[in-house]
């Protein structure tokens, strides 16, 4: 009875753990095996004359849904191969698309050379992939030879999506990610808007770009060996040829172009023409299909302005365009692959499948910006929120703010050899330096090389979305290469360069000062109140080619106005407080009320049983009492007896007779299964007020071990809530006879001392009915004799005493009446004298209760 009760909470805990484990298993259970791609080699013909044979290494993923489904072409990034796209392809195929991914010419196991998405080469290849798709039975056709097809890809793969869309009218929707609008501008940017011919060479990114395509740059992305993949170039030789180490897998004309511009650091018109052939800028008005442009905020290679230019060009044709700014980009940070996948798939669902109605849950809005969303409360990791506006406003925003900056004209020096340079970002290693969300910046300006202009502390937070502009003057002579940047400067911490972006410019300095309007890099950043905006113009930057000749210029402000674009329409999707914030506690209160009320009905029904006024003067009436153990065995069975005033009743029985169980029911500690107990006519239920007329000592003492004997009794009496003068504490303490020990902690007491203290506690308030369970245990003979006197005297005042004992002599000498129990049942009840008299009549020998008792319970002597 006791063990199962104690184990119940344990069982509940185990159940809880099992539930948790079940949820965990459910969440982590492996999903069905992904769709398997079929590797295929697709021969294509390309080149300016269409006479060059190239074999593209591709993988086709039939739609999991079966039938003829829309197709998606997935293109990989620079330096990668079709292997990078496998998991995305499988996921799209599961979503019901026929997916074809391939290694572009010059990459992976495809043959041919890299032509930078040239219309003569890569674009022709992809058009033939579309032809190939049109012949597949798994692909839905719009017309003969015209499959329903979308193209998606990142960086190099994003550009081929754009270029193919321009050259092939069969493409129905594209999702180009982190890619370029004008490759010449990306490599030779100029923030004054004078074009790439005047641009500053982005030498580190260019080096990585051409290096990784060359194969000499071991990017670790699984580039196969040149010789094995391109038999035409190396003939299986292990040692690369001079041409191979010079140009890798690049087309020679591209290789030559790069070598020339990288050496001089200046773009040539020929180079610009070549790069623009591979850029959407060369095909204005040709891309007329729904386009989702996803660009990275941490991207110094293809900054947000490229997506902006693409968006404007495509929107001009009337085609639907949406723009999303990711948190990460080529410089690292969070690339949000899951979100990008969902958006991409959602775009194709809408424009290829035709479901997912515009403005529905699948659509995020025309302009999405990933922002810092604080920390996940569980893991404390930074999380992103996607703020959304209905319209893409471009880089000049909807509602520009103007902040006044100030600072004197300052001299800046270009160090000889351009070293040491200032640092904004370190291309290719951005992920290592930059913290997630761009809150940590590795930016560094060299003293003497930078002019600083700062605003007053902001009075209110300012959310900038777009490319700020500032007007400066450059004094001096000759051509100056400068880098303008906008810092977020707070009082204590180092100033932050948002996303590590700079705006390079080349300007001819004059003694009178050349005024230039500088468009700073497009950003999305919240400048907090009390922060200052700091515009810095420096002469060097690690990522760019700068002149080697030493020079000194003076930089001043042409206008104190710093124009900051904003987009006030951008807002986090209205989540509001989750519905369950209110619903859960309310439901819990309802459940709790139900739990409590359902439980109460039972007890109240019992308590309402009327009082038996005819029994009001009878201390105890037990009738038909029964109690089962948990195992069904009866501890007390059909017990009935009555105790009248002034009696000292002995409750006699061997161990296990049910004496203690009866006494527990008498105290309201356990509920009877059948029958009832009435004390002074009132039915005993847990907490029945009539129990206040009962003093009890059952199954050993119960004290707070850290309190003294006196404090225990005092606290006990105060717990009853009855007046202190009713306690008769001194009389009770006298009975306990503990003397000085009363003021010691109970934990120091012997068993006998506790026993006496417990009897004293039972007598507190001189209860009308006193119930003592084995009171003589642990007492020495004089104390036992004293106890007898006390109990008899107690009953003489009209009170009643019930004593249980296994000591027969004890009962014989103390009690006036006796109840004998055996195995839960009443065996005999009556005055002790009657019982002894009956026994004498039976066998004629000495009247010993022991003999009578053994007779009664049927044990042989």
């Amino acid at each position: 009875m006791r063990l199962p009760d104690g184990r119940r909470p344990l069982a509940a805990l185990v159940a809880l753990v099992l539930l948790g484990a079940g949820v965990l298993a459910w969440a982590l259970w492996p999903s069905p095996p992904p769709v398997r791609g079929q590797d295929v080699a697709i021969p294509v013909m390309d080149g300016p004359a269409g006479d060059q044979r190239v074999t593209l290494d591709a993988a086709f993923f039939p739609p999991a849904s079966g039938g003829a489904a829309p197709a998606v072409l997935l293109a990989h990034g620079f330096g990668g191969s079709k292997e990078d796209m496998r998991s995305s392809a499988a996921r799209l195929a599961e979503r019901g698309y026929a997916v074809l991914t391939w290694s572009a010419r010059g990459f992976g196991r495809s043959t041919g050379q890299i032509a930078l998405n040239s219309p003569d080469y890569e674009v022709k290849d992809v058009r033939q992939l579309v032809d190939w798709l049109a012949k597949r039975p798994e692909v839905r056709l719009d017309a003969t030879g015209d499959p329903r097809v979308g193209v998606a890809g990142g960086s190099y793969g994003g550009a081929i999506a754009l270029m193919t869309a321009a050259y092939d009218g069969r493409i129905d929707a594209i999702v180009p990610q982190i890619t370029w609008h004008d490759l010449a501008d990306a490599l030779f940017p100029d923030a004054t808007g004078q074009g790439p011919l005047n641009g500053v060479f982005k030498k580190m990114w260019a080096g990585i770009f051409f290096g990784s395509g060359g194969g000499a740059f071991a990017s670790g992305r699984g580039l196969p060996e040149i010789a094995a993949a391109d038999p035409g170039a190396g003939g299986g030789a292990r040692v690369p040829t001079a041409e191979q180490v010079r140009c890798g897998r690049f087309l020679p004309e591209i290789c030559d172009m790069y070598q020339e511009v990288a050496e001089t650091g200046r773009a040539t018109q020929a180079a610009i023409d070549l790069l623009r052939r591979s850029s959407p800028i060369s095909v204005p008005g040709k891309i007329k299909i729904p386009t989702l442009l996803i660009q990275g905020q941490r991207d110094s290679l293809f900054p947000l302005s490229h997506a902006d230019a693409n968006a404007r060009a495509i929107a001009a044709t009337g085609a639907p365009v949406e723009v999303a700014w990711l948190s990460g980009g080529h410089d690292g940070g969070d690339g949000e692959p899951d979100w990008v996948f969902d958006r991409t798939a959602g775009w194709f669902d809408r424009w290829l499948k035709g479901d997912g109605e515009p403005g529905g849950a699948a659509e995020a809005g025309a302009f999405t910006v990933s922002r810092d969303g604080g920390r996940d409360p569980g893991t404390r990791q930074r999380v992103l929120v996607h703020t959304v506006a209905d319209r893409y406003p471009g880089l000049s925003g909807t509602d520009p703010a103007t902040v006044t900056i100030s600072g004197p004209d300052q001299p800046v020096a270009n160090p000889p050899g351009g070293s040491p340079p200032s640092i904004s970002s370190v291309p290719g290693f951005g992920g290592l330096l930059g913290g997630l969300g761009g809150s940590v910046s590795a930016a560094l300006d060299m003293p003497g090389q930078a002019a600083v202009f700062e605003s007053a502390p902001l009075t209110a937070p300012l959310q900038v979305t777009g490319g700020p502009t500032v007007r400066i003057r450059v004094y001096g002579e000759g051509e100056a290469t400068l880098f303008a940047k906008l810092y977020d400067s707070s009082g204590g911490a180092p100033a932050v360069l948002p996303s590590g972006l700079v705006a390079p410019l080349r300007v001819t300095a004059t003694e009178a000062g050349t005024p230039v309007t500088v468009t700073l890099p497009a950003i999305d950043r919240r400048f907090d109140a009390e922060h200052r905006l700091r515009v810095v113009v420096s002469t060097t930057d690690l990522a760019y080619a700068t002149p080697a000749a030493p020079a000194v210029y003076r930089i001043g402000l042409d206008s104190p106005d710093l124009t900051l674009p904003r987009d006030t329409a951008l807002a986090a999707p209205r989540t509001g407080p989750a519905w369950w914030v209110w619903a859960l506690p309310l439901a819990a209160v309802t459940v709790a009320a139900a739990l409590l009320l359902a439980g109460r009905a039972g007890t109240q029904a019992r308590a309402r049983d009327g009082r038996r006024t005819d029994l009001a003067e009878v201390p105890l009436v037990i009738s038909g009492l029964g109690k089962r153990y948990r195992n069904g065995e009866k501890a007390v069975d059909g017990l009935s007896f009555r105790v009248d005033k002034g009696q000292v009743l002995g409750l006699l029985g061997p161990n296990g007779a049910g004496k203690t169980t009866t006494m527990r029911m008498l105290m309201g500690l356990i509920l009877p299964d059948e029958g009832e107990i009435r004390i002074f006519g009132d039915r005993v239920v847990p907490g029945a007020p009539v129990l206040s007329r009962l003093g009890s000592f059952v199954e050993g003492p119960g004290f707070l071990p850290h309190l003294t004997g006196r404090a225990n009794l005092e606290f006990y009496w105060r717990a009853t809530g009855r007046p202190a003068q009713d306690a008769h504490l001194e009389e009770a303490l006298e009975i306990a006879g503990l003397g000085a020990a009363l003021d010691r902690a109970v934990r120091t007491y012997s068993q006998g001392m506790r026993q006496r203290l417990a009897i004293a506690q039972a007598m507190l308030g001189l209860p009308d009915l006193l119930v003592l369970d084995e009171p003589a245990n642990g007492l020495d003979p004089p104390q036992i004799a004293e106890m007898r006197k006390v109990l008899r005297a107690y009953a003489e005042h009209g009170r009643t005493v019930i004593v249980s004992s296994h000591l027969l002599a004890e009962v014989e000498q103390t009690c006036s009446h006796v109840v004998v129990m055996h195995r839960g049942r009443l065996v005999s009840a009556g005055p002790v004298g009657d019982l002894l008299g009956a026994a004498r009549a039976a066998n004629g020998s000495g009247p010993r209760l022991e003999d009578v008792f053994l007779d009664l319970i049927g044990e042989s002597r």
């Binding site: 204590g492 911490a493 907090d528 004390i679 206040s692």
Partner: protein, 290 residues
């Protein structure tokens, strides 16, 4: 005796007895206060901030300005130090303290056998639970409050009274602005410990082993914290009882975000109300055999 008895026949109770006057809060507070574990726990909570101060003073001084972790900012001033002390203790020490006060309260009476004498006094069962719950929650609240307050005092004496520097961004927020938020933080820490308190209380009602009740509640917190690190569970984690326990950090940000704390309060209240209702239901019908 008889006139008194006569007068009290109405309810059948002894003279002067009224169920609503049994086990007054004052008595229960005193009964619990003199216990060694109560005193030791409060001693530990009061000493911990000083221990931390000594640890920071003795440890090698790191002039690392760039580091913006809460632990590195602890020496910035009293407020920073108090936030740090709360963050290091909320996940375990305070959980143990709360589980101790709430898990021990009924189970220890059962193990001392004093429970049956209280019930036979009689203290009505629901009233006994109510009074014990109020006192246990009171001690828990005192434990959760006393630690940050002592840390504020110790930190201010050791590192001075300065504005709070926010971890992560390093921004400064004036001390006067933060002080009311600090009250919110402590209040939230209290509410978020309610789940532990009510679970410990439920276990306490069901067992006569105080350690079992305390350990069970602490065990649940451990299991829940492990589960919440499993990102695969997705938004299910939001309903784990410990998921929002650190959400109070959001209140100290320059732009305080209370949405996490509101969710945390909702989850905490939900669990607690049900667990406490279960405790009352269970105890009302339970056979007290210890």
């Amino acid at each position: 005796m008889s006139p008194l008895t006569q007068k009290s026949q109405d309810l059948g109770q002894a003279p002067g007895y009224a169920p609503g006057r049994t086990l007054p809060l004052r008595v229960e507070i005193l009964r619990q206060f003199k216990r060694r574990r109560t005193l030791v726990m409060f001693g530990l909570l009061l000493a911990l901030p000083w221990l931390l101060v000594v640890a920071f003073q003795l440890g090698p001084q790191r002039g690392d300005q760039g580091s913006l972790r809460l632990s590195d900012l602890a020496t910035q001033g009293g407020l920073n130090f108090a936030a740090f002390a709360l963050s290091v203790s909320a996940s375990f020490l305070l959980v143990v303290a709360v589980a101790l006060f709430c898990g021990d309260t009924v189970a220890s009476e059962a193990s001392w056998s004093s429970l049956r004498y209280l019930l036979a006094a009689p203290v009505p069962r629901s009233r006994l639970l109510r009074q014990k719950l109020i006192v246990a929650l009171g001690y828990s609240a005192a434990a959760v409050t006393v630690l940050p307050l002592m840390a504020l005092l110790a930190g201010t004496l050791a590192f001075g009274w300065h504005d709070i520097r926010v971890p992560g961004t390093g921004e400064l927020i004036p001390a006067a602005d933060v002080l009311p938020k600090f009250a919110v933080v402590i209040g939230y820490a209290l509410v978020s410990q309610l789940v532990v308190a009510s679970l410990a209380f439920l276990l306490s009602v069901g067992t006569d082993s105080p350690l079992g009740a305390v350990g069970g509640a602490v065990g649940l917190v451990i299991v829940s914290s492990i589960l919440q690190a499993v990102e695969a569970l997705g938004s299910l984690r939001e309903f784990l009882p410990t998921f929002w326990n650190a959400a109070w950090l959001d209140a100290l940000a320059p732009q305080p975000d209370y949405s996490g704390m509101i969710k945390g309060v909702a989850v905490s209240v939900t669990y607690s109300v049900i667990l406490i209702a279960l405790a009352f239901r269970r105890f009302r019908r339970k056979d007290v055999v210890s």
